[in-house]
């Protein structure tokens, strides 16, 4: 994880050198154990495998351009997907600003659908 000293701001670029991409790597069971065991790749929180056949699966990892190049030079069949770092930067616009609950003077409302009941009585303890 680098570049964390870079000041925030929109300079119009979509990609930076250390950005991590969603990468699927075709692996056998032995190759999967080897790749995971290196401890070099970002595996997410719990890696995902999409089985291709009995012997092979697609392992999803997060990798930088240089890591993708290294995998390709080792002969792995690699497919590069979304730029997860760029997606995170974009999603920062969907994070709340300030404090919608005003330090606790306002309570949040749940998104679950309330069925029946006495809607206007929310907040009153049932007798």
């Amino acid at each position: 994880m680098t570049n964390d000293q870079t000041p925030a701001g929109d300079d119009g670029r979509d990609e930076y050198p250390d950005d991590r991409f969603v990468v699927t790597v075709v692996v056998t069971s032995e190759q999967a154990a080897d790749l995971i065991g290196r401890g070099e790749l970002d595996l997410g929180d719990h890696p995902t495998f999409a089985p291709i056949d009995e012997d092979r699966a697609r392992l999803t990892v997060f990798a930088s351009r240089s890591q993708i190049g290294a995998l390709q030079s080792e002969g792995f069949d690699v497919e590069v997907g979304d730029n997860m770092s760029a997606l995170g930067r974009a999603r920062a616009s969907e994070v709340g600003q300030g404090d919608r609950f005003d330090g606790g003077r306002v309570a949040p409302r749940g998104i679950g659908r309330k069925i029946g009941g006495r809607g206007p009585d929310v907040g009153q303890v049932p007798s």
Partner: protein, 433 residues
């Protein structure tokens, strides 16, 4: 709406406590983070005079980049309190909880939510700007081991719990080092200076210790669409209690599939873990059919994912280390079947419904039946030996526990009676009104 920032998470809990003061308790956790933040948890309990209520402890936000977890738990608390106080049922997609079920969950359990274990990490991840890769940050922001190097900041809090924490000693050299943990501060799996070295993990320990009635612990993560249960250290086995994390004779031999070592779990408890994970999974899938699966944490396709120092394994160790402690089942939800930590907020609302449907399904299963309420009353007031009345001796969980056939039958009868009573009440009210 948008994702909750770290300030809003705490304000939301304070707000719920102020709006529902008799139904909630706000807990300020004792350990402040490296950046000086305070964390809170909210307890929901409708009937504190019922002394046999189990506690369900739901936590999230341990990994900074897994943004949606805290939002799921704040929403769960708000929904449960709104539905209870308006005598309403609650629905997430196709998963419906009747008004009676909501009432019984709140009246007969402690639902404890600790939404944001790692606020420093979340604040850092959510502050991602142009040129920054910090949205992908996973760890906390403890600089102690960094030596001033920015990428060496932080500890993976979910490798910092006291379960086989000292992985180089406890595990086989052949166990997969890419998943266990790391001694390297630059790693996303850096496990810290010692077990419970981090204020974030100590806050979770404090919370679990405070609730001696804790029976279920669920840590909400993302992504993959899994519900995981212990153990994460090795294959499970049910026959040899000496082959256990407690036994140093097995140090250096754990973490490899197909060899002599397998982690012990009593058969009855394994059945409970699998049933509990199944209840969460089915609750999630009932919302919109996402096809979540439940697994032991150790397994991963045809290979393995051994781990040390994780929360759900640590939670499950407690009954093995101290027989006086109640059985605490640990689970992990990995929400979202898409490959992303950053769903749009529109997508996130679907994930909130999924997770909350699963968590409330567990609470609905865990709530004591009327029969258990009556037994609790006897337990408290009749002059009989309390040891004799200990639940798990007289009433084995395979038969009487929340997943046992007797409990299921009583619950169906009780739910039916409650619905009939609610129907009659509604009819009388509409006739009078």
């Amino acid at each position: 709406m948008t994702f909750l920032n770290v300030v809003e998470i705490e304000s939301a809990l304070i707000g719920l406590n102020k709006q529902f003061p008799t139904l909630t308790e706000l807990l300020l956790l004792p350990n402040t983070t490296a950046e000086g933040r305070h964390s809170r948890a909210l307890v929901i309990h409708g009937n504190t005079s019922f002394k046999c209520r189990p506690a369900l402890i739901f936590v999230s936000g341990v990994h900074a980049r897994e943004w949606g977890g805290p939002d799921t738990l704040v929403n769960l608390a708000a929904d449960l309190l709104e539905a209870y106080t308006s005598n309403a049922g609650l629905a997430y997609g196709g998963k419906v909880f009747s008004a009676a079920a909501v009432r019984l969950i709140v009246n007969r359990t402690d639902v404890v939510v600790f939404p944001d274990i790692n606020p420093d990490g979340r604040a850092y991840s959510m502050a991602a700007g142009a040129g920054s890769n910090q949205a992908m940050w996973r760890k906390n922001r403890n600089p102690a081991a960094s030596g001033g190097v920015p990428q060496n900041v932080g500890v993976d809090v979910n490798r910092n719990y006291d379960f086989l924490w000292d992985f180089p000693v406890k595990f086989s050299p052949s166990a997969n080092p890419g998943t266990l943990a790391s001694n390297n501060p630059a790693s996303d799996l850096f496990h810290g200076a010692a077990a419970f070295s981090e204020p974030e993990s100590r806050n979770v320990r404090w919370l679990v210790d405070r609730f001696t009635n804790a029976r279920y612990f669920v840590d909400v993560h993302s992504y993959t669409g899994d519900v995981l249960y212990p153990w994460g250290s090795d294959e499970n086995q049910t026959t040899d209690p000496s082959m256990s994390f407690k036994n140093p004779a097995w140090d250096g031999k754990r973490g490899v599939a197909g060899d002599a070592y397998k982690e012990y779990v009593p058969a009855g408890r394994l059945a409970e873990l699998q049933a509990g994970a199944g209840v969460i999974r089915d609750g999630i899938n009932a919302v919109r059919g996402q096809g979540y699966v439940s697994n032991q944490g150790f397994w991963l396709w045809s290979t393995t994912y051994p781990t040390s120092g994780t929360s759900e394994d640590w939670a499950f160790t407690r009954e093995f280390l101290d027989s006086k402690k109640r059985r605490l089942s640990g689970f992990v939800i990995e929400f979202n079947k898409q490959t992303t930590f950053f769903p749009s907020w529109a997508e996130m609302q679907d994930h909130i419904a999924d997770v909350d449907g699963g968590l409330l399904a567990l609470a609905d299963w865990a709530r004591p039946t009327i029969w258990q309420v009556i037994l609790c009353w006897f337990y408290r007031w009749l002059p009989i030996d309390r040891e004799w009345m200990r639940w798990h001796r007289v009433f084995p969980p395979e038969l009487w526990g929340p997943y046992g056939p007797w409990t299921r039958a009583v619950r169906v009868i009780e739910d039916t009676v409650q619905r009939v009573v609610d129907f009659i009440r509604g009819a009388v009210t509409s006739r009078n009104g």
